[in-house]
Each structure stands twice: as structure tokens, then as C-alpha cells.
């Protein structure tokens, strides 16, 4: 389906099921970029490491690690240690995103200037730049 959606001037953003199942079944290079989303917890970093390995082994596309809910330097260090040499986006732990999630409102609508939201906007803009085009 992802391959068939490709059109000049069209950008497809797919939110995959948790885990590796969907990524493992991708073939035919239907994606340009895979964003592996992790939290700075031991479980999430372990899953993220496996996802990143799979993306690299499969040559699926550019790999970006987006670390969500980063609270402090220790969190940032945990993420960096788990993914040495990879593109990292650190999204700060942001009460505005949590509040938006609980009220069922898109964070971009609820708090467009919140630090967590701005980090995600920077990711989107970065992927549209020369390296992600």
C-alpha cells in the first residue's frame, strides 16, 4: 500500500504498529525514512535497538531515532549510548503534550509553542531538507 501511495509532490506519513512485525514485512523499499521512536527506558531502548538494527540490515532507508519524553542529561546520555553514531532527535518530556493527549487534542493544536511540539516540528522540517528529500 505504501508503494502505491507514492506520488510526486505527495508525502506519506505512516504510524506503524508497535514492535517490529510491520517493519520486517516491508519490501521493495517503499519508505525513504524510518523514524524509530523510543523512550529513555531500558525496555524501550532495547526494542529500539532491535528496530534500528533491522532497518540497517534491510537497507530500508534513512534511519532517525526520535527519543521521546527526555527529562534530563541522564536520559539524553542513555539514548546516545544506545544508538552511537545515529541521527538523534531528543523530544523533551513536556506536560503540554501529556495534557493534549489526555484531552484528545492534537499537540500541534493545543500547544504549538511547547518545547516538545517544537522538537517534533523541527524533525518534520529536517526531513524535508536536503538530507531527507
Amino acid at each position: 500500500m505504501l508503494g502505491q501511495l507514492a506520488r510526486p509532490g505527495t508525502i506519506v506519513v505512516a504510524d506503524f504498529e508497535a514492535g517490529l512485525g510491520t517493519v520486517m514485512r516491508l519490501d521493495g523499499r517503499p519508505v525513504d525514512v524510518v523514524v524509530v521512536v523510543v523512550e529513555p527506558t531500558a525496555k524501550s531502548l532495547e526494542v529500539g535497538r532491535r528496530a534500528a538494527d533491522l532497518v540497517r540490515e534491510s537497507g530500508l532507508g534513512r534511519l532517525v531515532i526520535s527519543a521521546n519524553r527526555v527529562r534530563d542529561e541522564d536520559d539524553a546520555a542513555r539514548v546516545a549510548a544506545a544508538f552511537p553514531g545515529l541521527d538523534l532527535l531528543l523530544v523533551p518530556d513536556d506536560p503540554a503534550i501529556l495534557a493534549a493527549e489526555r484531552s484528545g487534542v492534537a499537540p500541534l493544536d493545543a500547544a504549538p509553542e511547547a518545547p516538545g511540539v517544537r522538537a517534533l516540528v523541527s524533525l518534520a522540517k529536517g526531513l524535508l531538507g536536503p538530507a531527507g528529500a
Binding site: A18, G19, L20, G21, A42, K43, E46, V47, R78, R102
Partner: protein, 252 residues
């Protein structure tokens, strides 16, 4: 007691299941904790460092069933025997059996999958309690990975997405004629959220677990919250859930 934890990914199933298993084992029960998620999770919550030690491929043997390729437990091996042989001993005496974890492009868990499924059909009976941590989502947990359970705990956090998953699980449970299905409100910050979880899922609320910053810290450190903060909010709430189930008290 045979309990399965279900709910949306990220709702807190593994954290609560691991804590529940250990708290139950701490009362002297023989507890088997089952992790049927192909991604690592329950081992961390139990405080077991063997996060990827599933059933070996030779647990099953292949046979031909009228032209179809099938798998069954190898000759002489029963489900109970597989538990005795392959379960890992964890803290508080918990026995831990896990599905092997996904890794790499050519990962194939066909044999593990069927082996685990056969074990689920022949789990230890008298004298054992089973605590299962199921994969996230709504893929028929009642008839497949959780079919051994007599009680399903639907773990729901008070977000629209988690509430919707809880509601769908409740409908699936009714369709599947599942035994007792109750909801646990997790990561609760305000008391009215508990009521909302009950209303929106249509399930009886067994109890609530407050949002616990110490659980977040334990998760970051890769420690079981029961080791990190044994008398904290999560451990206390899980003990209450267990008491309600053990005493047969009706949930609110």
C-alpha cells in the same frame, strides 16, 4: 488464579503484570509468569536480566497433516514439562517463560510460536497461579494468547486512545464469551479519571494505580519497580488489586 493483562501498548501491562506476579509469589503462591509479547518487556518488570530466552526450536517437531505442515511438542515433552525445563527462576520464586524476542531481518519464530501455543494448552494446574502479559492491542487476546486465563485485567490509562482500545477489548471479550473481564485504571492523576475509565470501557473497575514518578525512574534504570521502590505507589496499588482478586471481593 489465572490472570492475563491486556490493553493498548504503553498502557502499563508489563509493569503491572511483573509486579503482580512477584507480589503474588511473595505470598507463597507458586507463580508462572508468561510473556507472549515478541518484544522485550516483562523480564525488566520482573527484575530478570535474561530478556531474550524463549523456547528453543527443538521444543516442537514438524509433522505432515494431510499435506499441511504442522508443529507439535516433540515426542515425550508436555507443556508442564516444557515449563519445568525452560522457565527461568526469578525473584520471589517466580517462574518465567517467554516467547523468544524479535531480532534481525530474517527472524523466524514459527517453531517458537507453535511451541508456546502448545504450552498454553497444557499449563501447570493445581497449586500454580498463572500471570500472563499479552501483546498490546486488540488481536483476539481472549481466544489466543490469553485463552488459559480465568480473569482478564484490561489495563487502561485515561487517554482517548487507551480508552478506545479498552472499549474494543470489552466488546471482543463479550463476543468471545471470555470469563471475568475487569478494567484497571492506570497512571491516574485525578480521581475522576477512574470513573471515566469505567464509564468509557463499560467494564467494572477492579482498582486504580496512580501515576508514579518512581515507576518512571525504575523503568529508566532497567529495574523492577518492586526492587526500586517496594513500598511505593505502584507496589501498594498492585497489592490492593491482588487482595481484591484473592478475597473474591467484588470490584467497584
Amino acid at each position: 488464579m489465572r490472570v492475563a493483562f491486556v490493553g493498548k501498548g504503553g498502557a502499563g501491562k508489563s509493569s503491572l503484570a511483573g509486579t503482580f506476579a512477584r507480589v503474588l509469589a511473595g505470598t507463597g503462591e507458586r507463580v508462572l509468569a508468561l510473556d507472549s509479547d515478541p518484544m522485550p518487556g516483562l523480564a525488566f518488570s520482573l527484575g530478570i536480566d535474561r530478556v531474550d530466552e524463549g523456547l528453543p526450536d527443538e521444543t516442537v517437531e514438524e509433522y505432515n497433516d494431510d499435506g499441511h505442515r504442522r508443529f507439535r511438542l516433540r515426542q515425550g515433552l508436555t507443556g508442564v514439562g516444557a515449563v519445568e525445563r525452560y522457565a527461568v527462576q526469578g525473584p520471589d520464586g517466580v517462574h518465567f517463560l517467554q516467547l523468544g524476542k524479535a531480532h534481525g531481518q530474517r527472524w523466524d519464530n514459527t517453531r517458537q510460536h507453535f511451541g508456546f501455543q502448545h504450552v498454553l494448552d497444557d499449563l501447570p494446574g493445581d497449586g500454580w497461579s498463572i500471570v500472563g502479559d499479552l501483546p498490546g492491542g486488540t488481536r483476539q487476546p481472549f481466544m489466543t494468547w490469553g485463552r488459559y486465563a480465568d480473569t482478564f485485567l484490561v489495563i487502561v490509562e485515561p487517554t482517548p486512545a487507551s480508552l478506545l482500545t479498552g472499549r474494543r477489548l470489552a466488546r471482543l471479550a463479550a463476543t468471545a464469551q471470555a470469563p471475568r473481564v475487569v478494567v484497571v485504571a492506570n497512571k491516574v492523576r485525578e480521581s475522576e479519571e477512574v470513573e471515566r475509565v469505567g464509564e468509557r470501557t463499560g467494564l467494572r473497575v477492579l482498582g486504580a494505580v496512580p501515576f508514579d514518578p518512581e515507576l518512571e525512574t525504575a523503568d529508566r534504570l532497567g529495574r523492577a519497580v518492586l526492587d526500586h521502590d517496594p513500598q511505593g505507589q505502584t507496589a501498594t496499588a498492585v497489592r490492593s488489586l491482588m487482595d481484591v482478586l484473592l478475597t473474591g471481593m467484588e470490584p467497584s
